[in-house]
Symmetry: C2
């Protein structure tokens, strides 16, 4: 953030424009690429401006997952039943509180077509299912559970179906996805300008967005955008001041997911043009201690030595509950039978003991509480039951083999990863909405510059998912405008 930055400019103060296009896309990540492709295919002259030196944004370093369902070609090929309605039920239960029906409903309805479109851009998917919980980090399988669809309480609300669609690559899945989308955009005739930061939007007197002011290596350049501007410039996890003002809990997490350009500039540009930013406290908070999945046979306990969650949930749900409900401190208690070092991040042990009592004392938990918790858990696990949180029987084994250990699940550990989910409010066509519900003429947004389908309760693939989905819609809607000549 630049103190005193001026994020909007009056069109009357802009003389001759240096550049002209129909649709200006700000940011060349996944949402921007999809907006650009669709706008260009609809006949618009498209310019994509990107602050950094190359295309890809945060998306290119991501896991490449798209959260899609409703009966996609890949789901069908692998024999998984799903429907738009079933997917809607899961998302309305998981993406709360106050899930955004206005975005979730079209997202579920359009999901099958959207997957076909992604495939048509050249992104390959292998028709194979990854049976581990959540993410095929070490295989090129195409489909997996990337949320908590198959575990309690969501398996009581909607029929479980895997919806994590992963490009066919053992590593760098995000790069594979993005390289195909970038190639598709360039192939559609999209023009690009790198090292070009959008510093202000240009507004006509009636509030219509008609262009932008860029900061480039050659100095300031003005762009006329006759049909519209699409903001796809990422979130704000790398802006400390904005985190403190809007989402202070996220600042506690050990790792940030994003690039340094996730500094909220896109959101601030939208605000300055009259847009509204909503649910700015929300974030994806993942506790990436899985894989290995065998750790799920351990139990999460809080500072009081109490369990608080079924351990088979998506690690994003676990991270969210530890950070937001347990004040950022919990432990994973394991025995020698289920312990294995997590594969993605280093961990610290808060304590080790030959008995639970010894472990409890070493961690500093209230006397007798962990013993009571483990006794209750073991008694029921021996019968394949979990009356407290209904963990799947697969992971229900009494903790009985010493030594016992407690993995320190403190929010500032590196495996606590966070990115922001709050941002500009959009409608289903990607139009940015103002505080009174009106759309800002000429202004669109998608991806993490917006508040999307996951207001909270993230599942992997929802961010690339809604960024690509509403990015396409924004690009098409902008391209269909009559366009306005300079006044």
């Amino acid at each position: 953030m630049i103190e005193g930055e001026v994020l909007r400019r009056d069109a009357r103060d802009v003389g001759r424009y240096d550049l002209e296009c129909d649709v200006l896309v700000v940011g060349f990540g996944c949402a921007g690429a999809c907006a650009a492709i669709e706008a260009a295919r609809a006949g618009a002259k498209v310019l994509v401006v990107e602050r950094s030196g190359g295309a890809g944004g945060t998306s290119i370093n991501s896991g490449g997952f798209l959260y899609l369902g409703g009966g996609t070609a890949l789901q069908k090929a692998l024999g998984y039943e799903d429907s738009a309605e079933n997917m809607f039920r899961y998302m309305m239960a998981a993406c709360g509180p106050a899930p955004d029906e206005a975005l979730i409903a079209p997202y579920c309805e359009g999901s099958v077509e959207h997957f076909d479109w992604i495939v048509a851009q050249g992104v390959p998917y292998r028709a194979s299912y990854f049976p581990g919980n959540h993410e095929p980090f070490t295989t090129d399988d195409g489909l997996t559970y990337s949320g908590s669809e198959h575990v309690h309480p969501f398996n009581q609300i909607a029929t479980p179906a895997p919806r994590g669609h992963a490009p066919q690559s053992i590593r760098d899945k995000g790069a594979l996805l993005m390289n195909k989308l970038i190639a598709s955009a360039l192939g559609a005739g999209v023009k690009t300008a790198y090292q070009s930061r959008c510093d202000a939007l240009v507004l006509e007197r009636d509030g219509r967005v008609v262009g932008a002011v860029l900061s480039t290596l050659e100095g300031e350049r003005t762009v006329r955008a006759k049909k519209g501007v699409v903001l796809t410039a990422g979130g704000f996890i790398y802006n400390e001041a904005m985190l403190a003002r809007y989402a202070p809990a996220l600042a506690r997490c050990g790792s940030k997911v994003g690039t340094e350009t996730d500094d909220g500039l896109g959101i601030r540009l939208g605000l300055a043009a009259g847009g509204e930013a909503i649910r700015m406290d929300a974030g994806d908070i993942s506790m990436a201690i899985f894989p290995p999945n065998r750790l799920r046979s351990g139990i999460f306990v809080n500072r009081s030595g109490q369990r608080f969650l079924n351990e088979d949930v998506y690690f994003g749900r676990a991270g969210e509950l530890v950070l937001l409900h347990q004040d950022g401190q919990a432990y994973l208690v394991v025995d020698d039978a289920c312990f294995e070092r997590p594969s993605m991040f280093p961990i610290e042990l808060a304590g080790v003991g030959e008995t639970i009592a010894e472990l409890e004392a070493e961690v500093g938990l209230p006397k007798g509480m962990l013993e009571a918790t483990v006794a209750y858990y073991n008694e029921h696990a021996a019968r394949g039951e979990d009356p407290l949180f209904h963990k799947l029987p697969t992971w229900l084994t009494p903790l009985a083999k010493p030594p016992f250990a407690a993995i320190d699940l403190r929010a500032d550990q590196p495996f606590f990863t966070a990115f922001t989910l709050g941002g500009l409010r959009i409608d289903a066509n990607g139009r940015v909405l103002g505080a009174s519900g009106e759309s800002i003429p000429g202004l669109y947004a998608a991806g993490r510059t917006t508040s999307g389908v996951a207001k909270q309760g993230y599942s992997s693939g929802m961010s690339l998912g809604d960024g690509s989905f509403f990015g396409r819609r924004a690009g098409r809607h902008a391209a269909a405008q009559a366009g306005r000549e300079a006044q």
Copy 2:
């Protein structure tokens, strides 16, 4: 909210102004009254406009508490030691996460002088201490604990001192406070216009706020405000759409604290003028099942039958934790010795039993958990200890006298009361700040139109406290401006 409302107007589109003043105050609650008094005393021509038919706002129906300390005259008269630094330590610990040092520091430093000023407006305080936890609802005592200063963990962080300053009246304390402030404002020469809603702010081309457009019984009226506009128009607890977009958890609460004009219009006016609204998810969430305080000898348990909090905390802290950390459902388990019906609201019993096992089954808690919880609690309570949450010994009595009961602490019950704490970002002079940290020339705000000293972790009296405190500062700062003539 009016779909499509236009909240700002270009000064060039305003011909002749119908009215003129130096400082325009929008809303005649506690913050507005204090802004008006100070602006008028500094020599400014002040107009206060109020949507409803009379003065007082939500403040007039409130408990009338001001959260003040640092060694006020009343604290000293009653022998309580406090200092600005000690008060600052409590507020920085309680009003988190990410407490707002920029507002809390001057608030603590100016607190002694502010109390004297309130007294000078004619508000009477009786030099007597109310020893019950929290609020002298049935006495006219002047000072009490209105937060969690004296209980765990805050009694470990700062020296406990009571800071709830209550006007001397058995009932209608808020009316007493407001009637004195209103009289003081009118005595200072402040002009008023009722049934006059501010629908838009008037901005010069450079972004300066120079007036407002009012909707009155006689139709639209424009006001020129040469030195500034102060927005003191309340929060948004009565705006369902805004709650859904910003603070959906608050919408779950059974009661709203406010008036129907707490619909966020002041916040939206500020946003439209380029202001930034922050921490919009925050709220005061009180679980008003106390008094009677003897209920604090019961134990709070969650849906798993586990304790999660010391029961002697301020009921705002308890409500916040039940709503935000326990998904809006908990129980207060009592025995026949400590049960008594709450005095302020009706309650429902989720179950009754001759034994804890019977109660557990009737409430539907996981088998054996409540029994284990009560056994652990009783064992330590018999020794005057609470190793889990450190409740004060006063309330530590084993739950032993049947029958036992569980009071249903569900968020939609009427004793769950909520109001919003998010709003416009201001500096210590009440100037509204934009997204880039700059102040909006000519625009001020205070009270629940702003994000104030309590970003979360509310204690009683912080809202009237910061509204009156920063309201005064806003009024003084605005009055000190050179003023701008119409261009």
